[in-house]
């Protein structure tokens, strides 16, 4: 044992070598992060200002030409509009249902764990599997929804084959998948609320609705914000269900941003155009992230 040196002194003493040691530990993770996150993000921006070379010529600088093309691309505008619609409709529905589920299974009830599992399990299934499950409902011939309609003597609907309904059918699937996932966060928050508050409300004779509105809802606000922000980020990265259920059709009516990027890059091989679209998507995600940091900052001020 060394005598006469405090640990702090030891640590200060070999400062330079300690720094090198630290950076070396950091290196492997840093290499992969830079190679697959930072570099591609920058490369995307770089490629987006070039145009494909024609007749074997190399790519040439075109400035904002790709972005200008995006503005007049009907499919892109449709994808953007669909994506916004998707976010605006699915997020409140999924978050609202999640809250209801959490409130429902939070109370002690017989086999409450089973109900909780039933709500949560959809978020564990692969999207391809979910698509298959739901095709049972949507399929025009033997689909359950059309049978239900036939039961009431209503005309059959081509759920995924009609441009008017296909996007909404995808939304239903998203809500089904996400609500149980968000429920978990609400459950965690509900369990952190002091049980004495509920007892006090009980003694005062407050109705459950009043208790929810005045006590639970305000206390759940940070969770709601967190869930809303994460849900918005997810909404702009949705692609699996489009590929597995409609493949963008009918008539491009279910195109979403990431799907159109995937299409442009891997079916049309228009890399520069896809890069420009990726840049737009990155900008949207960055904007949501900024909102996130803004709110999180505020929250820490209150604490």
């Amino acid at each position: 044992m060394k005598i006469g040196f405090s640990p702090a002194f030891l640590m200060r003493h070999d400062g330079a070598s300690r720094q090198i040691y630290g950076y070396l530990l950091l290196l492997p993770a840093a290499v992969f992060l830079v190679a697959f996150t930072h570099y591609p993000a920058v490369a995307t921006l770089w490629q987006s200002v070039f145009g494909a070379g024609v007749n074997g010529k190399p790519a040439h600088f075109v400035g904002l030409e790709n972005y200008r093309a995006l503005l007049s691309d009907d499919t892109f505008r449709l994808a953007l509009r669909n994506n916004l619609l998707y976010a605006i409709i699915t997020i409140p529905l999924a978050v609202g249902l999640a809250l209801l589920m959490a409130l429902a299974v939070n109370r002690r009830m017989r086999a409450g764990g089973l109900a909780r599992a039933a709500f949560f399990i959809p978020s564990l299934l692969p999207m391809v599997a979910i698509a298959n499950l739901w095709l049972f409902f949507y399929s025009p011939q033997i689909g359950l929804l059309n049978r239900l309609l036939a039961w009431f003597s209503l005309p059959a609907v081509n759920w995924l084959g009609d441009p008017g309904s296909a996007l909404y059918c995808l939304m239903a699937v998203s809500v089904w998948r996400e609500a149980g996932f968000f429920m978990i966060f609400y459950l965690a928050a509900l369990q952190q609320i002091d049980p004495r508050l509920a007892e006090a409300a009980d003694i005062e004779g407050a109705s459950p609705v009043y208790f929810f509105r005045r006590v639970q809802w305000p206390l759940l606000m940070p969770t709601t914000l967190f869930v809303l922000i994460n849900a918005s980020m997810n909404a702009f990265r949705i692609v699996d269900q489009v590929i597995t259920m409609t493949n963008g059709g009918p008539d491009n009516s279910t195109h979403l941003l990431l799907f159109y990027i995937y299409r442009t890059a891997f079916s049309y091989w228009d890399l520069h155009y896809a890069a420009a679209m990726t840049a737009v998507l990155l900008a949207i995600l960055a904007a949501i992230a900024l909102i996130k940091f803004h709110f999180l900052d505020k929250r820490t001020h209150y604490q």
Binding site: P7, L26, P28, R107, M127, V128, A265
Partner: protein, 280 residues
């Protein structure tokens, strides 16, 4: 809770509670309907797939046929290997990085951490285009390593472990240093055991994420040799196969089963992991 209050609550709330419970149960059943329908179709003869006859005999044939109709065994092995490779590498890299960020007083540690957090915003699946080019130039297209590589460094894991390591008292480490313990010994004997719940939480979240990952493997693979379950199932369910609901149902349930079993075994940990993972 006082006795009087207990009685008041029990008498006043009993019918309401019962109604709530019943409602919750119906909602839960309705919510599981897609899974239940598919289960029903999968365990009954393919000929009965559209009818829901109550007395239809039970059968395992659909599972057997589905298993034989596509190389699901291979897909299972691929997915298992892939998930294992990713999770192990994520944990190792994140442990080293988090330890370095917390205990080495590096110049620019704050900046580095901010750059790490950027990945939470732009996840690798948004950058498929450039990552496809990178993996291609490394000659790793259509290999398991090629699918796994972009996920090796997980900002989320680094973030979780950094928070945990930070909360471990420095005195523990100083005492160990005086005793002549090496950094790796300290990491192995102090930091990793104390962060065990976080490791479990991240592992469960990461397994479920990568088991279900679809777009990136779809893009980067094109042979049975490396294709994971999700992509295999998608090919199996493609319309050219003719709509054989019973087989598709069986295959769908088969591919999801391991995760569901894992969930049922570790239900408490699973739910807590997702909670832990979400609360920052």
């Amino acid at each position: 809770m006082s006795l009087v209050e207990k009685r008041v609550r029990a008498t006043a709330m009993a019918p309401g509670r019962l109604a709530w419970g019943l409602l919750t149960w119906c909602a839960a059943l309705l919510w599981m309907l897609p899974v239940l329908v598919s289960l029903w179709v999968a365990i009954h003869p393919a000929a009965d797939q559209g009818t829901f006859t109550l007395l239809s005999p039970l059968t395992w044939q659909n599972f057997v046929h589905a298993w034989q109709a596509a190389p699901f065994g291979r897909y299972f092995i691929n997915t298992l290997a892939l998930v294992l490779l990713i999770v192990v590498c994520q944990l190792i890299l994140a442990t080293l990085a988090a330890y370095a960020l917390v205990r080495f007083r590096l110049t620019g540690a704050g900046m580095i951490f901010a750059l790490v957090l950027l990945q939470l915003m732009i996840s690798p699946d948004v950058l498929i285009l450039n990552n496809y080019q990178t993996i291609g130039s490394l000659g790793l297209r259509d290999t398991l390593l090629g699918i796994a590589l972009p996920y090796f460094a997980s900002a989320f894991a680094i973030f979780l472990l950094r928070q945990t390591f930070k909360s471990i008292p420095l005195v523990l480490e100083e005492a160990a240093i005086i005793e002549g313990a090496s950094r790796f010994y300290i990491l192995r004997r102090i930091y990793i055991p104390l962060a065990k719940p976080v490791y479990i939480a991240f592992t469960l979240v990461s397994i479920s994420f990568h088991w279900n990952d679809f777009l990136w493997p779809l893009v980067i693979t094109d042979s049975v040799r490396v294709r994971p379950l999700t992509v295999g199932l998608q090919l199996f369910s493609a319309p050219e196969q003719g709509v054989q609901w019973a087989l598709i149902s069986a295959a769908t349930l088969m591919t999801s089963l391991p995760l569901l079993v894992l969930f049922l075994l570790f239900q408490r940990q699973f739910v807590q992991s997702f909670m832990r993972a979400g609360i920052r």
